[in-house]
């Protein structure tokens, strides 16, 4: 089954005199477990597309379905619960909560979900260990490097065991070596579970991790399978 499904989705923004049409009647399906990249020049609408998939924004027209649920007309509460339980987000500028330690940051989505305290802490420790941050659990984001922050963000995105992980230029603020480490981590997480990954990037090396490329141009998506290009971790070590 398609975990993400867009039908005739259009999105525009108000601009100086007319409207800026960013997406034009986009049809798109993402299967469960896929590792897809959204590529395209700056301003082509990558973030716009990911935001629609993540129930962070509404399309002007068309339908967005996440795990079979049509997002149109859902209440704020329903959408918040959907984001909390089915989706995980990783952002270019991390967006961690600066006053909370790594372990508290990771535990937050679990708190919002209503998970009991002890289980939240256990789960976030486990996740931080998995992303290689066992040593730094009690540091606040200000005392972590960019790569470490992004690992915390990834752990946070995975906290509620989402079906989909959306990452908008997750390596955009990282140096090359760290960027590849983060992509290796994504790739291994994608292999481990059945989490569907959709991320956006400018970086061709990062694109090469994906199993499918969705190229955005002129408001349309050009769909291109990338064959067996799934990288082994060692390839970039």
């Amino acid at each position: 089954m398609d975990i993400i499904s867009l039908r005739a989705v259009s999105k525009s923004y108000p601009s100086a005199d007319t409207r800026l049409q960013v997406l034009r009647e986009v049809d798109l399906d993402v299967e469960e477990g896929e590792f897809a990249v959204v590529a395209g020049p700056s301003g082509s609408g990558k973030s716009t597309l990911l935001n629609l998939m993540g129930a962070l924004d509404h399309p002007d027209s068309g339908a967005v379905r996440i795990d079979g649920v049509d997002l149109a007309g859902r209440s704020d509460r329903a959408l918040a619960n959907l984001r909390n339980e089915k989706l995980g987000f990783v952002f270019q500028s991390f967006h961690l909560i600066p006053v909370l330690t790594a372990v508290e940051n990771v535990a937050w989505p679990l708190f919002l979900k209503g998970v009991e305290r002890r289980r939240r802490v256990a789960r976030s420790r486990e996740l931080l260990t998995r992303v290689g941050l066992a040593e730094h659990m009690h540091r606040t984001p200000g005392r972590l490097s960019g790569g470490q922050r992004q690992r915390v963000a990834i752990a946070r995105a995975l906290a509620c065991e989402p079906k989909i992980l959306l990452a908008d230029e997750p390596t955009g603020n990282l140096d090359r070596k760290t960027a590849l480490e983060i992509m290796d981590l994504f790739a291994s997480l994608n292999r481990d579970g059945r989490v569907t990954f959709v991320f956006s990037t400018h970086d061709p090396t990062v694109v090469s991790y994906a199993g499918r490329r969705l190229s955005l141009a002129e408001g349309k998506v050009d769909d291109e399978p990338l064959g067996v290009t799934r990288h082994e971790d060692s390839a970039h070590a």
Binding site: L56, A80, N84, I97, V99, R117
Partner: protein, 408 residues
């Protein structure tokens, strides 16, 4: 939601400087309200005790119908043989004195001057307690061994042009309608809290008043307690005692009789409200400013929280908790600051105050920080902080997620 509280607390201390300024403004506002309230409370207490102990007592007991007939047919509502009632009430623990009075008004003359007088006939034995709050400015107090002696108010002395030892003649009418005159010798001159009272007031032995009105009855029984605070507890017991008699009585509490006290309380309470309103507005601006800046600065974070599943209501709660936290911290420190100020005033022996309008004497003011005063300062502070957090919290919940998350 302990974790939301936890996050809110962390956020409060995030911008320490800004929070300090806001908390400081709350502390100043709180302390100003509490000290002003404490000052008013202190003044109320002084006025209350003065009114009770010089004039009214805590309770006055009359024969049934007194208030309807005291002008048209006073004689029919006088009390005969008050002693048996007084003895029973005096047995109650907490009752300081029970006495009786008969008042009348008349024209007083000493030498050439003639003035209106309000003469209180008192039982000299039972009246000792009442003189505590009167200040004798000349002569000596009433003496049971001197059935002809009387006290007059300081202003009345000036009106009459009389001196200690002079005779004053009071012209009045008996209950039978016969014009009657009695004389007393000025034994002493007193000053009570109220100038108005002092300008008409004379106090004489009750026998003298009874002679003037040609009666052996009394007008009212007056009960003075040891502690004003005991009144609510003792009142029903006194009512019970009165109910045990065949004749019927009416009771008035001091506060039902003290129109002046009520007026002063109303005035000062009004002043306090205006003041608290001003402080509340200042606190509201200060908190609103802080909260609005906090929301503005944390836009991206708000977007991230929403993306990981926070509902609008979660954000509203988070920012309201922050406002609540700032209010509670400010109030807590405000209580401490008020106590320190009150202690400082205590240490320097009070703030010297001029005589209030209509009063005869200045006084040393203290801050009487009662629970009620602190509670009202707390209520104003908390309402102000919460009200001014509502809009920023609501605004935070309405931020569009995608705009919040856009890299700035």
């Amino acid at each position: 939601m302990p974790d939301l509280v936890f996050l809110s607390l962390r956020n409060i201390f995030r911008n320490a400087r800004r929070t300090t300024i806001t908390v400081f403004s709350i502390v100043v506002g709180f302390a100003a309200m509490a000290c002003f309230g404490g000052f008013i409370e202190f003044s109320f207490e002084g006025l209350r005790e003065n009114t009770i102990r010089t004039q009214l007592g805590h309770l006055q007991i009359y024969a049934e119908g007194y208030w309807e007939k005291r002008v048209s047919d006073l004689e029919s509502v006088l009390i005969t043989g008050p002693e048996e009632v007084e003895e029973r009430i005096a047995e109650l623990p907490g009752v300081a004195t029970v006495t009786h009075r008969l008042t009348f008004s008349g024209l007083g003359t000493a030498g050439n001057a003639t003035v209106n007088m309000s003469v209180v006939g008192v039982d000299l034995e039972g009246e000792q307690e009442f003189s505590d709050f009167e200040i004798l400015v000349d002569g000596r107090p009433l003496d049971p061994g001197d059935p002809e002696g009387g006290l007059i108010g300081e202003e009345l002395r000036n009106g009459l042009g009389a001196r200690v030892g002079d005779w004053v003649t009071v012209l009045t009418s008996s209950f039978d309608g016969v014009i009657n005159a009695v004389d007393f010798r000025v034994a002493g001159v007193v000053r009570s809290a109220s100038r108005e009272y002092d300008s008409v007031f004379a106090k004489v032995p009750i026998e003298l008043a009874q002679r003037a009105r040609e009666t052996d009855k009394v007008e009212r029984i007056i009960v003075l307690l040891e502690d004003t605070g005991d009144l609510p507890e003792l009142l029903p017991r006194i009512e019970e005692i009165l109910a045990g008699f065949d004749r019927k009585f009416e009771i008035r509490r001091w506060d039902e009789l003290a129109g002046f006290y009520e007026a002063v309380v109303a005035l000062y309470t009004g002043l306090f409200r205006v003041f608290a309103g001003i402080v509340g507005v200042v606190v509201m601006f200060s908190v609103a400013n802080t909260m609005t800046m906090a929301v503005f600065e944390r836009t991206a974070e708000i977007g991230a929280l929403r993306a990981i599943g926070a509902r609008r209501s979660t954000l509203i709660a988070m920012f309201l908790f922050e406002g609540l936290g700032v209010g509670l911290i400010g109030s807590g420190l405000g209580v401490a600051a008020s106590w320190l100020l009150a202690a400082a005033v205590e240490a320097v022996g009070g703030i010297p105050m001029p005589p209030p309008p209509g009063m005869t004497q200045g006084f040393q003011a203290y801050f009487n920080l009662t629970g009620a005063v602190l509670l009202s300062a707390f209520a104003v502070t908390m309402v102000a902080t919460l009200v001014s957090s509502v809009y920023p919290a609501f605004a935070a919940s309405r931020i569009r997620i995608v705009e919040a998350l856009q890299p700035s």
